[in-house]
Symmetry: C2
Subunit: 494 residues, 2 copies
C-alpha cells in the first residue's frame, strides 16, 4: 500500500507548498527535502539546444494566425490526407526499360540520394558489376568497372524515376519491375523483384548464380507474373499489407505473412495463366523467399508517399534513403531537394564469421517503408525483429510509441494489435524530429563493405538528425522565415 506523503504545514504558506519542477530532476530534491510535494515534468530544450533552430521551429509552428504557420498547417493536413488515402495496387510486371520513365538503354538506377560512380560504396559497385554482366555490357567484372570509370553508364537515383530499390537498389533496363499504382491518386511506383537473402545482387554479389537468377527473372518469372496479372487483375497491396501487420510482419525486415498472402492470392491465376513447370517454379521461388513481398511493400509505400510530395509548405518527410555513403531525405514542401548526412553502420546481428568491421554503412531505398509507417515504425507488430539486437516485445512497443512523437497521424487502416489496434505512426514531420531529437528507427539488412560478397547480417539503424535540421532550414528559407536575419540574437555556432 502506498500513499503520497503530505507536505508539512508552513506559517507562510498555510496550505503547504506544492511545487512543479520542469527539466533537470535534481532541482526537485531540495524542495522535497523540505517536505513540499513536487511534481516532476520531463523537459529538454528543443532542437538539442540549438538556438537558431529552436527559434526557427517556433516560427514554423502550426498557427493559423501566422502566415507561415497557417500555410504549414494546411499543407501538412493535405499531405497527411493524401498518405492516409493511399491505395496501392500491383498492376503489372514489365522490363524496367519499358516501364520506368527516363531510363535510357545505358541507365542504371541506384538507391539513396544522388552519387557519382567514383564515390559508390563496395556493395553498390558490386551490384553495378553484376548488372553490367547481366545486361551483357561487359564480359568480366574488370570490364564492367572500366565502363563505369569511363562514364559509359548513366547513374541516376531510383527515387528520381518513381522507383525504389532495396540495398544497392541497382535497376537495369532488362530487369523486370513491379508496376504499382496508387489508385487514389493515379501515380505509379516501380521496384525490382526480390531475389531472396544471402548472395544476391542487391547486397553486392555478382557471381554466376546471381546472374542466372536475374536471367530467370527476366525470361521466366517476370513474364509469368505479367500474364498472371493480366488474368487476375490488379492485386490490392494495401489490404495485404494491412493483414500482414496483424500477422507479425512489419513490412520491411519481416515479410513472411505478406509473401504467403500474396502467393495465395495470385496462385490460382498463376496456375491458369502459364506453363505448369513455370507456375510450379514461380510458386517454389515464393515459397523459399520470405522477403518476396519486401519490394512490393516498398513500391506500395513509394506510390503512397509520392502522392504527398510537392505540397508547398509541407514539412512531411516523403522519402528516407541511403546510398551506403550518405543518408538522404526528401521533404514534401522542398521540391526536388535532398537533405543528406553521412550514414552509419546499423546495430545488428551478423552471420557466423562476420562482424561490424566487415559491414558497409546503411544502404538502400527500403527506408521508404519506415517513411510510410512500416518497418521500424511498426516494430510493435513484429516483436521477433527486435531480437536481432537483443530486444524484447516491450522494447518493440516502445520503439513504435517513440515514433508517434515525430509523426502527425495514426493510420486507421494499418493497425497494431499489440498496441490495442492503434494505427501505425504515419507522416513524419521534419519539425518534430528536430524538436524532439527522436531519430527515425529503420530496420535493415547489413551488406559486406566489399563488392562481390553479399549479406552478412541484419539490424536496426537510426536516421541522422542533420538531414531533418537541413530540411527544416530549407523550408524556413522557402517560407521567408529562416536564416537568422530576422532574429535579434546571433545564430548559434553549434
Amino acid at each position: 500500500m502506498t500513499r503520497t506523503m503530505p507536505s508539512r504545514k508552513s506559517t507562510v504558506f498555510p496550505g503547504g507548498i506544492r511545487a512543479l519542477n520542469v527539466g533537470l530532476a535534481e532541482f526537485a530534491e531540495p524542495v522535497r527535502a523540505h517536505g513540499a510535494s513536487c511534481v516532476q515534468v520531463e523537459w529538454r530544450p528543443p532542437a538539442q539546444a540549438d538556438r537558431e533552430l529552436g527559434l526557427l521551429l517556433a516560427r514554423l509552428e502550426d498557427d493559423p494566425a501566422d502566415e507561415a504557420g497557417g500555410l504549414i498547417a494546411g499543407a501538412n493536413a493535405q499531405a497527411v490526407r493524401r498518405i492516409l488515402e493511399g491505395r496501392a495496387a500491383l498492376l503489372d510486371v514489365q522490363p524496367a526499360g519499358a516501364a520506368i520513365p527516363g531510363m535510357t538503354a545505358r541507365t542504371l538506377l541506384h538507391s539513396g540520394p544522388p552519387i557519382e560512380g567514383s564515390r559508390m560504396c563496395g556493395p553498390m559497385r558490386g551490384a553495378v558489376i553484376g548488372a553490367a554482366l547481366f545486361e551483357g555490357w561487359a564480359a568480366t567484372p574488370e570490364e564492367a568497372e572500366a565502363m563505369a570509370a569511363r562514364d559509359e553508364i548513366q547513374f541516376s537515383p531510383c527515387h528520381h524515376h518513381g522507383a525504389v530499390g532495396p540495398m544497392a537498389g541497382i535497376v537495369s533496363p532488362s530487369m523486370p519491375v513491379f508496376v504499382v499504382e496508387n489508385a487514389s491518386h493515379g501515380n505509379r511506383a516501380y521496384a525490382t523483384l526480390n531475389e531472396g537473402l544471402g548472395k544476391v545482387l542487391r547486397f553486392g554479389a555478382y557471381e554466376a548464380d546471381v546472374i542466372a537468377r536475374l536471367r530467370w527473372f527476366a525470361e521466366t518469372l517476370g513474364p509469368a507474373l505479367n500474364r498472371t496479372l493480366r488474368a487476375h487483375g490488379p492485386v490490392d497491396l494495401a489490404t495485404i499489407s494491412a493483414q500482414a501487420l496483424q500477422m507479425g510482419d512489419e513490412g520491411h525486415n519481416r515479410n513472411a505473412a505478406a509473401t504467403s498472402l500474396f502467393a495465395r492470392t495470385i496462385g490460382p491465376a498463376l496456375v491458369r495463366s502459364v506453363e505448369r513447370e513455370d507456375a510450379a517454379a514461380a510458386l517454389d521461388f515464393m515459397r523459399g523467399n520470405d522477403h518476396f513481398y519486401l519490394n512490393l511493400s516498398m513500391a506500395a509505400c513509394k506510390a503512397t508517399l509520392d502522392a504527398a510530395h510537392g505540397i508547398a509548405g509541407s514539412t512531411v518527410v516523403t522519402a528516407m534513403a541511403r546510398n551506403g555513403v550518405e543518408f538522404g531525405i526528401r521533404v514534401s514542401g522542398a521540391a526536388d531537394a535532398w537533405f543528406t548526412a553521412p550514414v552509419g553502420v546499423p546495430e545488428g546481428l551478423y552471420f557466423p564469421g562476420y562482424g561490424p568491421q566487415d559491414a558497409n554503412a546503411d544502404l538502400g531505398d527500403s527506408a521508404i517503408t519506415e517513411t510510410c509507417g512500416f518497418g521500424g515504425f511498426a516494430m510493435a507488430a513484429a516483436p521477433a525483429i527486435v531480437r536481432f539486437v537483443g530486444g524484447t516485445p516491450a522494447d518493440a512497443q516502445d520503439l513504435t510509441r517513440e515514433m508517434y512523437r515525430i509523426t502527425l497521424a495514426r493510420h486507421p487502416g494499418f493497425t497494431i494489435a499489440a498496441l490495442g489496434f492503434q494505427g501505425t505512426p504515419t507522416a513524419i514531420d521534419a519539425r518534430r524530429v528536430v524538436e524532439t531529437g527522436v531519430q527515425p528507427v529503420i530496420n535493415t539488412g547489413i551488406a559486406h563493405r566489399l563488392p562481390g560478397i553479399g549479406q552478412i547480417g541484419a539490424g536496426i539503424a537510426r536516421a541522422p538528425l542533420a538531414c531533418f535540421a537541413d530540411g527544416v532550414r530549407d523550408l524556413g528559407r522557402r517560407l521567408g522565415v529562416g536564416g537568422g536575419a530576422r532574429w535579434t540574437g546571433a545564430p548559434s555556432s553549434q
Copy 2:
C-alpha cells in the same frame, strides 16, 4: 511521488505492526485503519469449498513420499514429456472408410462424447441428414431421418477412432480425411477437410451446395491432395502451427496464417502433380477459406495428445469435446472413460438476424486444440479473437495467463511473442482445474439450434467444472484414495 506510509509507533510492538491478510480483503481494512501496514494475499478455498473434493485433492498431490502422489507425479511427467515431444506431420489424404480403423460401410462418426441418434442436437441431426444424402443412403431428408430412427446408421464418437471433427463432426465413409502421424510416437489421427464458413455440413446445413462441395472434396480435392502428398512427402504441421502462432493465429478460430503457409508449402507439388484446372481450383478453395488449416490443426493436436493418453495415474486431460448436448473430457489415467456435464451456449457475436435464442449449445471436437495449448489457451497470440466478445489485447493476454494456472508446462516450441515468447499453456491438469475453479477457455463457432441452417456466429465458451471434478474422483477411485470412506468427515453435499 508516492511513498509507503510508515506504521504508527506502538508501545506493545515498538517495531510497529506489519500484518498479512489471507483471503477476504475486508479483514485487512481495520488493521490498516489503525495505521499498520498490511499485505493482502489473494486466496480462495480450493475446489470451490467442496470438502470431499478438497480432501481428495490433498491426497492426490504430487508427493514422492506418498504412493498415489508419487505415481501421479511420475505419470504426469511422462504425459507432459510425450506432449512436448509431439511432432505431427500430414502423411496422406484417403477416404475415411479406408483410412479410419473401425468404420463400417454404415458408420457415421460424430463429435463429442457418445450420444444416441435420438438425443442428438439440431445441427448434428442436420449433418447426419447431409451425410446420408451425400453417401446416397437416402434420397430425401425425411428418408435420412427415418433411417437414423430405425437404427440403420451406426453412430460412434470420432474420438473412439483416433479422429476429430469440428462442430457436428460427422464423418462418413466416402469423405476424404487427412491422415496425420505423430512422428515421435507413431500414432495416427484423422480429420475431414474443412468446408469453409456459413452453410456447411458441420454446422448442420445440408442443402444442394453443401452436398456438391462434399462431392468435389471426394472426387477432386481429396485425390489432388493425395497425389500432392505423394510427390511432396509428409508436411511438417508442428512447424506450420509454431510459425502461425507468431502470425496472429491461435489454431482454432483463427487459421489465416497457417492456411497461407500450408498452401504456400504444398503449392509447387500440387501444381506438378495434378491437372492444371484441378490444381487451380484447389488453390482457389484454399485462397477463399481462411479456416482450411483448422482441421489439420485439430488432427495435429489429436495425434499429439493421444500419445499421452492411457498413462496410469496421470491427471492430464487428453481430450475436451462437445456433442451439442454434453461436454465431455478424457483423462490420461482414466482409460476410456468420458466425464460429462451439460454444455452451455458460448458468449459471442452473431451474424445479422440471429441471437442467443437461436444458438445451439457448444459443439464439436475442436476443443482438442485448447486441450493441446492452442485456441483459447493461446489467445494472447491472436488478440483479434477476443474482439468477438468485446475484449482487448490485454484481455487476450489475461486469458492465456489464467490458463497457465491449470497447466503443467509451457511448450518450448509453441511460443507467444506478446508474452515475451513464453510457451503456450500445455497439459491441462484436471486437479488444478478443480482446485482453482479456473475453467478452460474455448474459442468456438456457434451453430443454429435447428437442422439445416448452419453457422450463425462465433464466440468463447468455458468448460464445465463438473467434468473435471468427476475425472479427479475417478482417478482417486482408481488409485484407491477416493470415495470419502477414508475420511472422518462426511462428504459435502455441495
